[in-house]
């Protein structure tokens, strides 16, 4: 099972996947060999404790080290909101999260893990968020790559996704931005920094509502390095809570970050922020410029909304929305230019501060998806995690550019992909050597060569051995198959003379073959026996008897056709 996420839009049973799809009625463990989680976003791992503890699954769960570290924090946070705040029951408990995490087996990048006798998995770097991975799953010669979410352009804290030319049978790729080609990141970053810088210079306060993980860290790094570079002094605050814990993990998993952070961490770990400090509620009223990162990202509740209310009245201040906002949230309203907001209790709020929108998304765009396909060279493509209309476009493009089949199954739909599995066959070394000796010294990869041998299928294994060995192994007797044929020949000479003439003729035609004239009145070419006898009616008509074994079929038929043409007259 690849990923075990939840739907954020529902609050009822529909938020978790319906596992009975897999099991009908039976234990999940019997149906699944393992579960692989690509990264820690809740739409990829949110249903994990539900599945393992409430539905019941005891098999292995694989995820990368950072995901394993951060995932429980998010799950716990999510649980708190649903259970403690909204008061829902029938939800997983903290203990369940812990128990679930005990079943997790961590993965390293590029480490091949043997799940069982047949199944092996290997993780590749995917960008997107810390610890995000793509997985290459292989059984025998058939393989699947599942990308999870990935990003092909590096950002301030993560590198770009990379995969080797593994040529999987199916590449399952996300397609969030199937119809988008994005502008360069640099322009957006520069814009963002310029906005913040200008506002700070004016003495204004900048509010950046973020979700706690992922983009927030990128923006922190961006601002931190900018402050460092430009020698700025204004304070940057980060609202506390879950982020602090997460930052701690970001500090630990340096190997998962981008080149710059990896190279400089010996001097200084970039996540040990110099300029960014923890935020306290009272700081919001401090005079002077400051930058505050506050959760949540859409200004619909919590600290970010409180700060927004405080600062909205001053035109020197600024709010930067770094991501998408759902309709109905204050974030969405102000982005659409609404200047008067109705608050609860009929109060209205004049929005005088500047509103900026700056999108930093960490999904691959259409070009990025194509780039990944080019890197992995899959035989079939399967698009998930996107909107059908957009996927349709990308599907067409993929089929056109790479001429491979592309599928985009809807929820619950089964797709059948035909593959061309190669069947491994053991070949006996003796046979191989013998065949090698027949041909040239080097096997030419461009020209396939035929070889003779016997394929034995026994007890689920395939073996290619020489026929003698096969006979011996199977306890069978060897049968010889001989072809004989009569060729009539007009020749006035005596039998012995005719035979001799045939002998000399063949000798002149077949160079490089052993041709013997035996005293008992036969000519033997390799294993082909030729005898001459006069026909009963006409002594001038000689009947040649040719006999050859099955193995010499080629030579034999050649000889028979040759002799049918008659002997040239010039031979004595």
């Amino acid at each position: 099972m690849l990923d075990c996420g939840m739907h954020m839009g529902y609050n009822d049973d529909r938020r978790f996947p319906d596992f009975s799809y897999i099991t009908q009625n039976g234990r999940l463990t019997d149906f699944l060999d393992c579960v692989i989680i690509s990264h820690f976003h809740l739409d990829h791992c949110g249903a994990l404790p539900y599945m393992s503890e409430m539905v019941g699954y005891d098999g292995p769960i694989y995820m990368t080290h950072p995901t394993k570290a951060i995932c429980p924090i998010l799950l716990e946070d999510f649980r708190k909101i649903t259970v403690d705040k909204k008061g829902e029951t029938n939800f997983f408990t903290s203990q369940m999260i812990k128990d679930c995490m005990k079943k997790v087996i961590p993965l390293n990048l590029h480490q091949t893990v043997q799940v069982d006798d047949e199944l092996e998995i290997k993780a590749y770097y995917a960008g997107h968020v810390l610890g995000a991975a793509m997985v290459h799953i292989k059984v025998g010669s058939e393989s699947v790559v599942y990308t999870g979410d990935y990003n092909m352009t590096p950002d301030r804290h993560l590198g770009a996704a990379w995969i080797d030319k593994c040529r999987p049978d199916i590449l399952i790729s996300e397609s969030t931005y199937a119809t988008t080609i994005r502008d360069s990141k640099r322009c957006r970053e520069r814009d963002f920094l310029k906005k913040v810088h200008e506002s700070i210079e004016r003495g204004g306060k900048v509010l950046i509502p973020v979700f706690a993980l992922g983009r927030a860290q990128e923006l922190c790094i961006l601002l931190e390095t900018f402050w460092e570079r430009m020698n700025l002094k204004a304070p940057i605050y980060f609202s506390t809570g879950l982020t602090e814990k997460a930052n701690h993990y970001y500090k630990l998993f340096i190997t998962w970050t981008n080149q710059k952070i990896r190279k400089t961490f010996v001097q200084r770990n970039m996540f040990e922020f110099k300029h960014i400090k923890a935020f306290d509620r009272s700081y919001a009223d401090n005079p002077g410029p400051m930058v505050v990162f506050a959760t949540p990202g859409m200004l619909h509740a919590g600290q970010s909304l409180q700060i927004f209310k405080k600062w909205a009245g001053n035109e020197k201040n600024m709010v930067i929305m770094p991501g998408y906002c759902v309709q109905g949230t204050i974030g969405h309203k102000i982005l659409n230019g609404q200047r008067k907001l109705e608050m609860e209790g009929r109060a209205t709020l004049d929005v005088k501060l500047q509103v900026e929108y700056m999108s930093f998304s960490a999904h691959a765009d259409a070009k990025g998806i194509m780039q990944l396909i080019r890197m992995a060279e899959p035989r079939n493509m399967l698009l998930v995690h996107g909107e059908a209309v957009k996927m349709e476009f990308l599907k067409g493009k993929i089929e056109q550019e790479f001429s491979i089949d592309c599928y985009m199954p809807a929820n619950g739909e089964t797709t059948t992909v035909t593959t061309n599995p190669s069947v491994p066959v053991d070949i006996s070394l003796n046979l191989l050597k013998r065949e090698m000796a027949l041909g040239g010294p080097l096997p030419d990869p461009k020209k396939p060569r035929t070889m003779h041998g016997t394929l034995i299928m026994k007890e689920n294994s395939l073996k290619l051995v020489s026929s003698e060995q096969a006979l011996k192994e199977l306890g069978l007797n060897e049968h010889q198959l001989r072809f004989t044929c009569h060729v009539q020949l007009q020749d006035p000479h005596s039998d012995a003379d005719t035979l001799h003439r045939i002998y000399t003729h063949l000798k002149s035609v077949l160079k490089g073959y052993t041709i013997q004239h035996l005293p008992d009145g036969t000519v033997i070419v390799e294993s082909i026996v030729i005898k001459v006898s006069s026909s009963a009616e006409d002594s001038n008509t000689k009947v040649l008897l040719l006999s050859w074994s099955y193995q010499d079929e080629d030579l034999g038929s050649f000889l028979s056709s040759l002799l049918k043409k008659g002997l040239p007259s010039g031979i004595c």
Binding site: K165, T179, T180, S184, C187, E228, E401, K446
Partner: protein
């Protein structure tokens, strides 16, 4: 117990045997040359098993072998080779053969036969590969022998079908290094190819292995082909298709080599036409190759990406249409066309609106795109640089920036286009990349004019905390063209902000504004009233003349005014006064201006204000005249001589200040004349006629003068660059005079005879060495002190010290002034400490006993070999002084004759009660031995050098050559 002892005895005994067993061959090898091979032979015979033999061979390989004994050694090795059964030993022997044939002066043709013979009997693949390597070495050693070459190629061809990849690799290498493309690629040879190796064209043989099953062999084949190309063979175009196919190989080293191959072919056949697959069209080969290599910029391996990106930069023949595609990016959002930020910025600029705050959905997608026209996988060159500049690895980004630079320099229209992208790179996370892109922009700045919004982005970098970046940017601004007066204003504003934030950038900012002003006089003109804050009716307050920001504005305005005669009319009165002041104090930044009605006041300026070369000539003339005037002084005691010297010295110093080109020469002359003046004063008549006890005071001044002259001569010798031997001789002559004076003075004051004898001997040695050193210069020194001295030399060396002193005294007083000849170019080494500025009132506090690091930033001019000569001196208030040698890596070289020292010195001291100042200055270390080794060797007397007494040669010392900077420090007592 006894048994135990016995055992120990045996043990030791056996050890004793072993040691000489290992020692003796080593000794033998060293003692007698010809026995080298014999020793090796003995060693190898002694070796009982292969490990021993290997050990001997390893030991043997560590020592060099003389050319004459190489052949013998080779024979021994070969002999052993035939006998040896162990693969590893044979391998080692084979590698030794290769090493030996590299020996200088040994011609390896005599061992070729043997080496080839060994090949045919060898079974082990590794050894075969090593033997082929040896043959390769031999082949490259003997490039002039076609017969051998043919044989080796034949050998290589024979082993090409080996099953071991290493052997095939080496064979291909051999073919690449030695093969000739003589026979054309023809059908008739193909059949015979198997039996007659030499006949087939090397190139087609190599290209057969492009499809080998082993990636290493494929790489080797490509490399061999490149090698052929490097040797000047003409590569056929047929290979192009094969090379292109290898661009999609599974292995990175193959792809990397293929990129090179394709590049080579594109350079060889740029204009030939290749068809585009799946269409009927045809394009130029260079365009096709460019497209294919561009494709590699998004390769999976970063090594290949770097390679491809670098290569792109050198494909200058590519058509502009393709070139511009590399910067192409079509954005879309939900299948609708979107404008890029660059386009938006351009439109925003064109519409006249500037920097409105970003609106939500400002970047909203526009027209709907036809799904068929959207090209996701950019075929060909599309967006290659867009990818390269956004790459994950900074190596790729740097390569992309450099490639952009190369392409932009040859194509102005491309330069215009890539501007936006380069400007974007100013925001890269890695400083190296930022720096590189600034440099690149400077290089192509002749082609471009910055738009306001672009300038804005560029200027944002001025606040960068890295000094290198800021200075690179100042440099860039010096060369930039801007389009509007707003740009000038913007630039000025940002530069002033920069100045405010980093006061140390003062000089750099001023210089930048100087160029900005002189480049855009017409744009500055409308800004003048605002810049100088003048008002048509009201008098505005006079700005503070010491304000660096105000100076910066004035530098801009004055430089613009130089080529804009109407501008001075806008100046207010105090501006003219400030001009006069700045022209005087910052003459390198403020140009001479023709100001209306003020000619008489600024007479000196108008003299100078002629074309630059003329003023230098007149100054030179003046310098020469002054020197001539001085040379008229024949007798040191002539009346008015001293005054004349005094005046001339003053003139020269002033001249040096005014005319920077001649500063070195003027200073040099002034110092020299000062020495003469000091000597003159010391030798004044009155002093010498008096009795000794009466003139104690004068004696003291004379001694001091002698000492000072000595010091000055060292300065003259080592502080100035561009001296010729003639000047050096003159300097040494003065030094000799000073020494003579010292001797005379010692004789007069001290009574100790032993001491006097010693000093006399030393002096005579000095004279001798002078004679030796400047034998060629002696004709020029006629009638001088030393000339007279040398005449009297026979007498001097035999006479008594007292007599000697007397002679010296008279000679000194009688000898005339030696005229100084000026060399062509003479520069004084100078150093300016930029940081610390010495202006800070806040003491640097640190705990006593611990160290504090003090950043030092200084520019050095005309210093030769600063890594060895420049030191930092720290002088503590208690008189303690430390000399610190900066690391060689702390010196940078921003320009010719210019160095930059950015270093840290560590200070430490015991606790003080209150803060106090220490002095930091730079020293130039010299050692007379070092110059007497370098400069005289040019004169061609080096044969006499060996007899030079070493004691005399090694006078070492330091010359302070920068102003001392005071730093306030406060070591606090450690708290317990």
């Amino acid at each position: 117990m006894a048994a135990h002892l016995k055992k120990r005895v045996y043990e030791e005994f056996s050890k004793v045997v072993q040691i000489p067993h290992e020692e003796t061959p080593a000794k033998k090898l060293r003692l007698s040359k010809p026995s080298k091979s014999a020793a090796l032979h003995i060693d190898l015979c002694k070796a009982t098993n292969s490990t021993d033999a290997l050990q001997y061979l390893l030991q043997f390989a560590r020592k060099p072998v003389e050319a004459e004994s190489v052949e013998g050694v080779v024979r021994i090795l070969l002999e052993h080779y035939y006998k040896e059964t162990d693969n590893s030993v044979r391998l080692k022997i084979a590698s030794l053969l290769g090493l030996l044939s590299k020996t200088q002066g040994f011609s390896p043709d005599c061992i070729v036969d043997d080496a080839i013979n060994t090949l045919s009997n060898e079974k082990s693949h590794q050894v075969l590969a090593q033997l082929l390597d040896t043959l390769l070495v031999i082949g490259t050693q003997l490039p002039e022998s076609p017969a051998l070459r043919l044989r080796l190629v034949e050998v290589a061809y024979k082993h090409l079908s080996d099953t071991y990849f290493g052997v095939r690799n080496k064979c291909l290498q051999l073919l690449g290094c030695l093969g000739m493309v003589d026979a054309p690629l023809g059908k008739e040879n193909e059949g015979a190819g198997t039996s007659l190796g030499g006949l087939r064209d090397v190139q087609s043989i190599i290209s057969d292995y492009f499809g080998d099953q082993d990636p290493r062999v494929r790489t080797a084949a490509l490399k061999a082909m490149l090698q052929l190309h490097e040797r000047g063979m003409k590569i056929h175009q047929i290979i192009y298709d094969q090379a292109c196919r290898l661009l999609t190989d599974d292995y990175e080293q193959v792809r990397s080599a293929a990129v090179q191959m394709v590049w080579v072919l594109s350079q060889l056949y740029p204009e030939s036409i290749v068809p585009i697959p799946s269409s009927n069209e045809e394009i130029r080969l260079v365009d096709d190759a460019f497209g294919k290599i561009s494709h590699m910029v998004s390769d999976g391996s970063w090594m290949v990406r770097v390679q491809a990106t670098k290569t792109l930069g050198s494909m200058l023949q590519v058509s502009p249409h393709f070139l511009e595609q590399t910067l192409d990016k079509k954005l879309m959002s939900d299948l609708r066309r979107k404008r890029t930020a660059h386009e938006r910025a351009k439109e925003l600029f064109a519409s006249g609106e500037f920097s409105s705050g970003r609106k939500w959905a400002d970047d909203a997608p526009k027209e709907k795109l036809d799904t068929n026209t959207v090209n996701l996988i950019a075929s060909g060159a599309c967006g290659a640089f867009v990818h390269g500049l956004e790459d994950e690895m900074f190596e790729v980004r740097i390569a992309a920036v450099e490639a952009l630079c190369q392409l932009a320099r040859s194509s102005p229209s491309f330069a215009e286009k890539c501007l936006d992208f380069l400007v974007d790179m100013f925001n890269d996370e890695i400083e190296e990349v930022r720096l590189q892109s600034i440099h690149v922009l400077r290089e192509i700045s002749t082609h471009i004019t910055l738009r306001e919004d672009q300038l804005d982005t560029v200027l944002a970098v001025l606040e960068d905390s890295s000094r290198d970046i800021r200075e690179a940017l100042h440099e860039l601004l010096c060369y930039t063209n801007v389009s509007t007066k707003e740009c000038i204003q913007l630039a000025l504003l940002e530069l002033l902000k920069n100045l405010n934030k980093y006061p140390t950038d003062r000089n750099s900012v001023w210089k930048c504004l100087k160029f900005l002003g002189s480049r855009h006089p017409t744009l500055v003109l409308p800004l003048v009233p605002e810049l100088l804050s003048t008002h048509p009716y009201f008098d505005t307050p006079e700005p503070d003349m010491d304000d660096p920001a105000y100076i910066a504005v004035l530098v801009l305005v004055f430089n613009a005014a130089k080529s804009c005669p109407t501008m001075p009319a806008l100046f207010s009165d105090h501006t003219f006064r400030h001009y006069a002041y700045l022209r005087d104090s910052l003459s390198h930044l403020v140009p001479p201006l023709r100001l209306p009605g003020r000619k008489q006041v600024y007479g000196l300026d108008s003299v100078d204000s002629g074309p630059g070369s003329g003023s230098v000539e007149s100054a030179q003339l003046f310098l020469q005249q002054s020197l001539n005037r001085v040379s008229t002084i024949q007798n040191l005691e002539a009346p008015g001589a001293q005054d004349l010297l005094d005046l001339t010295i003053r003139d020269l110093l002033r001249l040096g200040e005014l005319q920077t080109e001649l500063a070195g020469a003027a200073d040099f002359c002034a110092t020299y004349l000062r020495c003469q003046l000091l000597l003159m004063k010391a030798l004044q008549e009155k002093l010498w006629n008096m009795a000794v006890p009466l003139c104690l005071k004068q004696n003291v001044t004379a001694t001091a003068a002698a000492q000072q002259i000595l010091e000055e001569t060292y300065k003259l010798e080592f502080l100035y660059s561009g001296l010729e031997s003639r000047q050096v001789a003159t300097i040494h002559h003065v030094r000799l005079q000073a020494k003579a004076l010292q001797l005379v003075l010692t004789a007069r004051t001290r009574q100790g005879l032993d001491l006097l004898i010693g000093s006399c001997e030393k002096f005579l040695q000095d004279v001798e060495s002078f004679q030796r050193l400047f034998l060629t210069e002696l004709p020029h020194l006629q009638d001088s002190f030393v000339d007279k001295l040398l005449e009297l030399m026979p007498r001097l060396s035999s006479c008594k010290p007292v007599e000697l002193v007397k002679i010296l005294q008279t000679t000194l007083r009688q000898s005339g002034l030696l005229q100084l000849r000026l060399p062509e170019q003479i520069h004084r080494a100078t150093a300016t400490i930029i940081e610390p500025t010495g202006e800070s009132d806040n003491p640097l506090r640190f705990t006593s006993g611990l160290v504090v690091a003090l950043d030092i930033d200084a520019t050095l001019e005309h210093v030769q070999d600063p890594q060895n000569t420049v030191k930092v001196q720290v002088l503590y208030p208690d008189g303690q002084s430390h000399v610190i040698h900066p690391k060689p890596g702390d010196f940078r070289k921003p320009g010719p004759h210019r160095h930059r020292l950015i270093t840290q010195v560590y200070l430490s001291h015991t606790a003080w009660t209150e803060p106090s100042q220490i002095e930091v200055r730079l020293l130039l270390a010299y050692s007379s031995s070092s110059t007497s080794l370098t400069s005289p060797s040019k004169l061609g007397w080096s044969e006499s050098l060996e007899s030079l007494p070493p004691a005399e040669a090694a006078v070492e010392g330091t010359i302070p050559f920068s102003k001392a900077v005071k730093v306030f420090i406060m070591p606090k007592p450690a708290r317990r």
